[in-house]
């Protein structure tokens, strides 16, 4: 009975090592770093205690007591008493350790970059309040300069969601009627995946986003580019696609700055093609994926709020062609 868990322990070692792009075991920022260390500390201490108890149990099962009842009760009393004292010491230590870590994590950052994240069913609206120029509004992707602390102001539009990028920091809920803040820093450039961690309805499973950390200058360039309006259509097909987008229901929910499309119910698509993913982290940003998504969003992501707009094949081609050029 006592050797059965070994395979599962092996599993832990097997997968404990592998670094995911959405994993608490691969910290890429100071906050996640501190949490990682605390995690390892807890696991070591607690696993030791767990093993110790099982060893005592094993011995207790093997041995045959010869002690008189009185002696037995006396010895047992001493043993239990000591164990209780040890328990108190251990939990006090662990409590202090987690208190210290809390202090480290919630220490304020100087000169942070401010980003507003608003969660909706089932996507993320990301706003960079304009320093020098208009606000930058994008969706499901947070570009940040590597090394600089980022102050993320969290709010919810409909139900409770939770913002979680395990590689960078612990999670923080977005709650209607309340404003929460999370500060995180990415040590070096890279792509870190995040996902909604509070059940929020039908498509809770497909509410992901990317945090893309870049060198500061690259970030500045990206930000400048985002402030510009959408590019003019390159060719005839793109022009046709843009007209379709404006005349069909698309424009009623989506904004593409520099066009007639000024809807605010769906994500801002002004620089759609500059993002890494489509539909809140579901699809890669390719023209093919765009076409598939527009053609039948309810099959790809059942229950999401984008309707299936009837388009002719030509219109579908043109719209996806045009959207694919919105860098």
């Amino acid at each position: 009975m006592r050797i059965r868990p070994l395979p599962s322990l092996a599993l832990l070692l097997l997968c404990g090592g592998c670094a995911g792009w959405q994993s608490a075991l691969d910290p890429q920022g100071p906050s996640a770093q501190a949490l990682g260390q605390l995690l390892h500390g807890f696991v070591l201490v607690l696993a030791a205690i767990w093993l110790a108890v099982l060893v005592v149990l094993a011995v207790a099962l093997r041995r045959r007591s010869r002690a008189t009842p009185q002696a037995a009760d006396r010895h047992a009393g001493i043993a239990v008493g000591t164990a209780c004292v040890a328990t108190v010491l251990v939990i006090t230590g662990l409590t202090l350790a987690s208190y210290v870590t809390t202090r480290v994590i919630s220490a304020g950052a100087e000169a942070p970059l401010v980003v507003r994240v608003r969660a909706l069913q089932w996507w993320w609206e990301v706003t960079y309040p304009g320093e020098a120029g208009p606000d930058v509004v994008t969706a499901n992707e947070i570009r940040i300069p590597a090394g600089r602390p980022v102050r993320i102001e969290l709010s919810a539009a409909d139900v409770i969601h939770s913002f979680w990028v395990p590689n960078l920091a612990g999670k923080q809920d977005l709650i209607p009627g309340r404003d929460n803040v999370l500060t995180l820093t990415a040590r070096q450039p890279g792509q870190y995946r995040g996902q909604c961690a509070e059940f929020c309805g039908m498509q809770h499973a497909h509410m992901a986003f990317m945090v893309i950390a870049e060198p500061p200058e690259a970030f500045a360039a990206w930000r400048a580019a985002q402030q510009a309006d959408s590019a003019a259509p390159a060719g005839a097909e793109e022009a046709f696609g843009r007209r379709v987008f404006e005349q069909k229901p698309c424009g009623a929910c989506h904004t593409v700055r520099g066009t007639e499309a000024k809807g605010t119910n769906g994500p801002d698509l002004t620089h759609l093609a500059s993002r890494a993913t489509l539909a809140a982290g579901m699809l890669p940003m390719t023209r093919g994926a765009l076409a598939a998504w527009i053609a039948d969003p309810q099959t790809i992501k059942p229950g999401n709020n984008m309707p299936m707009v009837p388009l002719t094949p030509a219109e579908l081609q043109a719209v996806s062609a045009w959207l694919a050029t919105l860098r």
Binding site: A67, T102, W164, A197, G303
Partner: protein, 636 residues
């Protein structure tokens, strides 16, 4: 013992055989449908409760398998997201409200009166009523699920998702009313158990001689009494928000979204101990029998259970560490959550000491206790992890938590419960369960359980959130999930084997004597299964392990009437005889009352006015219930 010794009278005038006949005449439940519907015998109702709870366990297990089928592969389309959300909600709700709590109370309904040596539970009609309410609540939830009306908002029903704007249709209302049904029945049973334990103990069973399972159920019942009103208030506020437009949870009109979480977890955390403490009691009652020595540390164990009961009300915020509450307050709740590790530790240490100085006998119930040690302690350790505010920000709402609470609830409660079933099955049915199959069941469940749930710790750390109906291929969670799903099939096989053994043994198991395990507590002092009147003459208790003290001779009390249902009321502290109280006869009114209440509660989902016109049949039924029938039981 201050009671006076005299010459026998009344029941003591009769020899055993005529006494049995006389007592059966007054105590037996009449046969046939009417008898089945009208019975107030705690043993019949207790068995019903247990059987029904295990049926719901099986159903919940089927849902679990469906979820594992869907999650076995990334982007699988076995279930639609809408159906998946209903399934995990009904799974959680069913396991918590229709299995875990009721089955523990059911064990108590059957065992406590026997263990304290009385003839029926206090308020037997209320007991019948509570079972009917529970049954209707369960049918309501499952019926709704089968017509695609199952709640889809999680067993915790967070607003606003469960609120009037985002919870479309009647699904959430059904959830909220199902809560009302199960809470009413749970509260009723809690009251019965408190009164039975305080006032109906056998003469001489002073507070320090109460079996530990009975102590556990006493504490549990008090937790229920203090905790369940919170969820009643919460679900009432929710249904009012949804149906008559109140604003308890509407931030735009002065309400608060977190109010729901405070209320729900003020109930929801004690709920864990409502499920766990009875298991503690079972272990403390089973262990001595299989290590052949009295439990070590009776007093510390009792104090530990009481302090767990008190502490359990100071922990609720540790379910809300990521909601952005003030950090200082959160740190306090870290401390209190950690503090509960001490009484839990004391329990473990006392059991270890008991085994250390005992002589273990490896029968199936004992194997389940060993399985408990392995799994529950690990669950306790991960519990310490989620109790830490900073760690919880990484672990909360991830699969790590799923693993944690299954280790605590299955390892900590279901394993001891199954051990308890193997242990008390001969008392329930008069037949033993198969030792051979039992060892297989224990082994299978233990192995498959750990294979199923241990990898979930890793999945959580690898970033897999809870309550997702699927995950993407490039997340790299596929391998572990497939392994988990396959293990889940083995786990299900283990439970299937258990059910097979139970059903088979109930019919063809080898007959058990009064006391097949040579146990020490009073329920073993009567026949298996016990006669309708439990004890021909009420036992008299002189120690904590009565059947181990008196060598083959049971001291009893005489002088109760045999021509009416009569039992003994004793003092709270020393259990000195106070009065001969009568116990009600079978009656159909609890069933009518339950049906009337059902009409009111279900109607209120459709229109608030149902509360008004629904009150009429309820009142009539209650009057019928309490109006005296002029029987011997009414005399004085």
């Amino acid at each position: 013992m201050s009671a006076r010794i005299q010459d026998d009278q009344r029941d003591t005038d009769l020899a055993d055989a005529p006494l049995d006949a006389a007592l059966r005449r007054v105590w037996d439940t009449p046969r046939g449908v009417w008898g089945a519907l009208a019975t107030v015998d705690h043993k019949v109702i207790g068995r019903r409760y247990i059987a029904t709870a295990f049926v719901f366990l099986a159903f919940g297990g089927v849902l679990a398998l469906l979820m594992r089928w869907q999650l076995a592969r990334p982007e699988s389309r076995v279930l639609t997201p809408d159906l998946y959300n209903q399934i995990f909600t009904v799974h959680g709700t069913s396991m918590m409200f229709l299995f875990a709590v009721p089955v523990m109370e059911a064990m108590a309904v059957y065992l406590v009166p026997l263990m304290v040596g009385t003839r029926n539970i206090a308020f037997p009609r209320l007991n019948a009523f509570s079972y009917w309410m529970y049954l209707v609540g369960g049918i309501l939830l499952w019926g709704a699920f089968l017509v695609d009306m199952g709640p889809d908002i999680g067993w915790f029903a967070y607003v606003p998702l469960a609120g009037p704007q985002y919870g479309a249709g009647k699904r959430v209302d059904i959830w909220a009313q199902m809560i009302t049904f199960t809470e009413i029945s749970a509260l009723a049973v809690a009251v019965e158990i408190v009164v039975t334990v305080l006032k109906q103990r056998a003469p001489g069973m002073s507070l320090d001689r109460i079996p530990l399972f009975v102590w556990a159920m006493l504490v549990t019942s008090f937790i229920i009494i203090m905790a369940m009103p919170a969820v009643m208030v919460a679900s009432t506020a929710l249904i009012l928000d949804r149906l008559v437009g109140t604003h308890f949870f509407n931030p735009a009109e002065g309400g608060d979204v977190l109010l729901w979480q405070h209320l729900f977890w003020f109930f929801g955390h004690p709920e864990v101990y409502i499920i766990f403490l009875p298991a503690v009691g079972m272990i403390s009652s089973i262990l001595p029998t299989f290590v052949r020595r009295p439990i070590f540390g009776y007093l510390p164990l009792v104090l530990a259970m009481v302090s767990v009961g008190i502490l359990s009300f100071g922990l609720w915020v540790h379910h809300m560490f990521t909601t952005g509450l003030p950090r200082l307050g959160e740190s306090f709740f870290t401390a209190s959550s950690m503090a509960i590790a001490l009484p839990s530790g004391i329990q473990i240490f006392c059991w270890l000491a008991t085994i250390w100085y005992g002589r273990p006998v490896y029968r199936t119930p004992f194997l389940f206790i060993l399985a408990f040690f392995f799994t529950f302690i690990m669950g306790g350790m991960t519990g310490v992890m989620v109790a830490s505010v900073p760690l919880d920000t990484q672990l909360h709402d991830s699969y790590f938590v799923v693993a944690h609470f299954h280790y605590v609830l299955v390892g900590g409660a279901v394993f001891p419960l199954l051990g308890g079933i193997y242990y008390w099955f001969p008392k329930f049915t008069g037949r033993m369960m198969s030792e051979r199959i039992g060892k297989w069941v224990a082994g299978l469940l233990f192995t498959a359980f750990n294979f199923t749930f241990f990898p979930m710790h890793v999945l959580g750390l690898l970033g897999m959130p809870r309550r997702v109906y699927t995950y993407q291929l490039d997340m790299g969670w596929g391998g572990l999930n497939l392994f988990v799903s396959l293990s889940a099939v083995v786990l299900a096989a283990g439970f299937l084997l258990f059910f097979y053994d139970a059903v088979r043994s109930a019919r063809h198991g080898e007959p058990a004597g009064d006391n097949p395990w040579g146990a020490a507590t009073l329920e073993w002092a009567t026949a298996s299964p016990p006669p309708s009147y439990n004890f021909a003459r009420l036992p008299v208790v002189r120690s904590a392990n009565p059947l181990w003290e008196d060598d083959g001779v049971l001291p009893v009390a005489g002088g109760l009437r045999v021509d009416r249902r009569e039992l003994l009321v004793t003092t709270v502290g020393d259990a000195l005889p106070e009065a001969r109280e009568s116990s009600p006869r079978p009656t159909i009114w609890p069933l009518w009352s339950a049906l009337a209440t059902t009409a009111l509660l279900l109607g209120s989902i459709l229109t608030p006015w149902a509360v008004v016109w629904g009150a009429v049949p309820v009142t009539i039924a209650l009057i019928g219930w309490f109006w005296p029938g002029g029987r011997k039981e009414e005399e004085s």
